[in-house]
Symmetry: C2
Subunit: 593 residues, 2 copies
């Protein structure tokens, strides 16, 4: 139907007769001539109709925004005065000869270039309009390029693309499952997978050696954060490879991806232990672009009487840490109050601070409500340890270590960003040597990753000191975002049973939930491991979008609904009967609940 795409016309096409199809981005009438900006997915070109071609001029005159046109005309150079260097097609225009209206358009619910003036709800309701915006077009095109680059790499490395089921059994990731009632098995339900974890392990047991899948995953969680009920994972698993091998191949994949799609050479990926990341950044996914670090001062605070600091400093589970912000002395009292509230969200009960006004003046040159509680020599040692300079501010956290890390870790990002300290570019790293378990606060253990993660120690040590055991897990982090995480898996039945035991899953429950995995481990499971990347998050980072909703064609709202199709929706009684279920609401009405 067309000879060229609008957005790709250039000076080289001058004098060509072209046929274009696209949408009217703008129509202007100027000096008796009609200018149409015709838009397709490749961009916009200006088409000019003058009154010479009477019939077509009349048609051009009545078209409106978002009409769909087919236009034939001749490409010509724009006059020097009208060249538009900000448009890729700005050196040329098309002199229209023929015009056909392929479809009309009612007045759009919002003008594409005024999308910010309407709420996100309107943009989601008319998603097909919002997706016409060049920015959205580019993001989804980038997403397509990303999946293509990933697939090309993995296929080239011998990974097989294997699909795993969507209608499956409840999976053990711990979040709430989406359920699907079975018609043929009354009273029973499928679950939508939270990840293909167990299936990919079974594919290794099956001998496929290298598997990948760009897989839909589902979690019925509250969507406070930037989450979606369905999201997409780049899911990878290999046999006969240790963590070094898996990290090497996936790092190469991400490096190649950035090169292919953004022409970016990522810097080296340093390896950092989980313990170091928590100590220095209060986070297991540190943003290394921010040149601020947490510094432990527990030993110093053991010398003060001030209970707020002394208590956590003496407590083996506590932590007192300082965060120095160079140049931060200009932060106002009001801003400090805001930061205090901010760290309160993470459980911190306050935010102590010291401003460094004049280092040469000793304690006199410092400004802080807490100085009066601390001996001068402790303050001096602390200032020395922190290497402060005039104009700095130091924030303090003192509490259980978990709270201090979360609060100061978050503050580090916030202050760093507010103060314009976030460096340019890309700062990737690997976080390694995670603990196997964390205290569930109830005398038991929960897995830090999932219960199929292999321990880095032997079985006896694992059983004796589960709290100290490290796992063979690894996370890839970029600019403070976890791109993906994985581990070497347990391939040995005895180890798997021991881990279930430590987690308080008795053999009967293990059999009931994971019987097929335990069986599979019996019949010759190879050593294996893998990794899963969050595709939505990778594309969001690469495209600079602010939310994963902006890199998903048809996302759900924060209440897990689609305002465009009005999903979820009601369902007839007959259909529910076939599925052997009934609404609870209904029952309430009849008073039998």
């Amino acid at each position: 139907m067309r000879s060229h795409n609008c957005g790709l016309l250039r000076s080289a096409d001058i004098d060509e007769t072209v046929t274009l199809c696209g949408w009217v981005d703008r129509r202007r009438d100027h000096g008796g001539v009609i200018f149409l900006d015709l838009r397709d997915r490749d961009g916009i070109v200006q088409v000019v109709f003058d009154p010479d071609t009477e019939e077509h001029f009349a048609t051009a005159d009545r078209v409106r925004s978002e009409y769909v046109l087919k236009v034939t005309g001749r490409v010509r150079a724009r006059s020097e005065a009208t060249v538009n260097p900000s448009m890729p097609t700005g050196e040329i225009e098309v002199l229209g000869k023929e015009i056909e209206v392929l479809n009309t358009a009612a007045t759009p619910p919002f003008q594409l270039d005024e999308h910010t003036s309407v709420g996100e709800e309107v943009r989601l309701r008319y998603r097909y309009m919002d997706l016409r915006r060049p920015e959205m077009q580019q993001r989804l095109r980038l997403r397509s390029e990303v999946t293509d680059a990933v697939r090309r790499f993995l296929h080239g490395e011998g990974f097989l693309d294997i699909e795993t089921p969507i209608l499956t059994r409840a999976t053990p990731e711990g979040a709430r499952d989406y359920l699907v009632p079975s018609r043929t098995h009354p009273g029973q339900f499928f679950a939508l997978p939270q990840s293909p974890q167990l299936f990919k392990q079974l594919l290794m047991v099956s001998g496929f050696d290298r598997y990948y899948q760009i897989a839909k995953c589902f979690r019925d969680e509250d969507l406070r954060a930037d989450r979606q009920p369905e999201f997409t994972q780049i899911d990878i698993e290999t046999s006969f490879m240790d963590e070094a091998g898996i990290m090497e191949i996936t790092e190469r994949m991400v490096r190649g991806l950035f090169k292919a799609v953004l022409d970016v050479d990522l810097p080296d990926f340093p390896h950092m232990t989980w313990a170091e990341a928590m100590e220095r950044f209060g986070s297991d996914k540190p943003d290394l672009r921010i040149p601020l670090e947490l510094v432990s001062v527990d030993d110093l605070m053991q010398q003060v009487d001030f209970k707020v600091f002394r208590g956590p400093a003496d407590d083996p589970l506590g932590r007192v840490a300082a965060l120095k912000v160079p140049g931060g002395a200009s932060i106002s009292r009001k801003e400090i109050d805001d930061y205090t509230r901010y760290v309160g969200n993470y459980g911190a009960r306050g935010l102590a601070w010291i401003k460094v006004n004049d280092l040469a003046a000793g304690v006199e040159g410092l400004q802080s409500p807490i100085l009066k509680f601390m001996p001068e020599d402790v303050v001096a040692s602390m200032m020395e340890r922190l290497g402060v300079a005039n104009g700095d501010i130091v924030f303090f956290g003192a509490d259980r270590a978990g709270i201090v890390n979360e609060a100061l870790g978050a503050l580090r990002i916030k202050v760093g960003s507010d103060q314009g300290l976030v460096g340019d570019g890309w700062a990737p790293l690997w976080v390694v040597d995670f603990p196997m378990f964390e205290d569930d606060g109830d005398g038991g253990w929960t897995p830090l990753h999932h219960p199929f993660t292999a321990p880095a120690c032997d079985l006896a040590t694992l059983r004796e000191h589960p709290g100290e055991a490290l796992s063979r897990a690894y996370d890839m982090v970029l600019n403070g975002t976890e791109l993906g995480g994985g581990s070497v898996r347990i391939h040995n039945l005895e180890t798997q049973e021991a881990v279930f035991d430590i987690l308080g899953i008795d053999p009967e429950e293990a059999r009931e939930k994971f019987g097929f995995l335990l069986d599979a481990l019996k019949y010759g499971a190879p050593p294996h491991g893998g990794l899963a990347f969050g595709l939505d998050r990778i594309v969001m980072l690469m495209s600079g979008a602010a939310s994963i909703r902006d890199v998903i064609a048809f996302p759900k709202t924060q209440t897990a609904a689609c305002v465009m199709t009005e999903a979820p929706g009601t369902v007839g009684a007959a259909q529910l009967r076939e599925l052997h279920i009934r609404l609870r609401e209904q029952e309430k009405k009849t008073g039998d609940s």
Copy 2:
């Protein structure tokens, strides 16, 4: 962990020291030497341990089938007598130096080479064992090659890979939906998509121009045929392209796929109208490898008194057709009885036949229970029309046209296959010019494809003669299987409303079900169309598998269950309460249903 893959070792590797990982396919003890067949996804290699290496010999001695090993040794040529030309690695063997047991294996539930002796249920329960069979490995590897070739082609042609939602609204394909209760919207349900049809149309309205997705689709149907609750579509849609363009590009894709994966050059794809396909083959997906055709004899049968034939011949909705099978006179009476029962499955009330024993003898040379009902000249004209020869048999169908076509169409395949008449190779074609609607037997119309298919006629004609209107749909058929089907879609609001009207969907219902589509058609929908291929079926055909279950890693049984993971399963009361539903079973027990 390894230097080479087992199945890839060749004579060129002789004298290399290699480290291999894999499964023990077989262990033999012969003349004081241990032979291990070590298997990985690339094949099998023979490893030999002799008693020189005492410790490793002892280990090799205790390994059993399906143990996972790591073996280091030297590649050497086999002696001339022991070269095995049927194995790709058969010219060499590995003289084992070191052996490590990576994992043991209990006695397998079945020996891999004895899979046919256990039922499919056992193979599905231990699917991870069944998938170790080289045949299954090859099928899933072929599937991965197919998706890769398809993606590479479509990406190269500028199609964007865009994901559409799995949690969505009931879709209009007409089969039963799988439903997902919403936790955040009490009493409401998502549906799993039967296809991304409406989303891909909306992507065209969004201006993406060319879309593809290898998409999971879901239908909660009874699985009598070779169907699965979840299946995979290669889903394609383009804007500004007519049916010729879409058929050209998708034919090129399939041609390239067969070349890339099977090194097969598909022959030309003839175009055949739906009417011709039904007339000549009684099927809209004719297997052109079978050189048998239906021949209409209605005009001749209007001259006989025999009611069974005369009735349908006189009825404008009836049909009398003949199917000549060359050399079929040898078909026994018992076989004819079997065929009679077979066509009975398709609604035929009998199967008349005539055997041609001696053409020169006239009617005397024919053998048939129905000859007595027919005038000799009619028989003679018929024999002439059919071009029979001695030794042929002719079968007859007489009934409503639909039944005759289904019954004789199926018989054609069955007899053709039984008589060894199915030609070699690949016989693709396009079936075009489908009717828009079919009689729903209730005075109304149902769409032959779906209600978004564009008509080939103008609106006035469509409204006046819906039964005669043709659509702009097309199916790609290969060897009697529909590989895919598609159409140019309706992009015009008035046409869409007219089609809904003909289908008896009133404006309110249309608004309620498809409001978002009707809105989208208002705001500048481009001309567009596309096609969806059944990936499972394509891979089944290409791999020569007998069932789509053999080309799906983890398929469901005929009752839509997974016997390995035991899905679907029961769910706790608390979880159901969160989803605002209750089991009906439960209610019966408390007597309040």
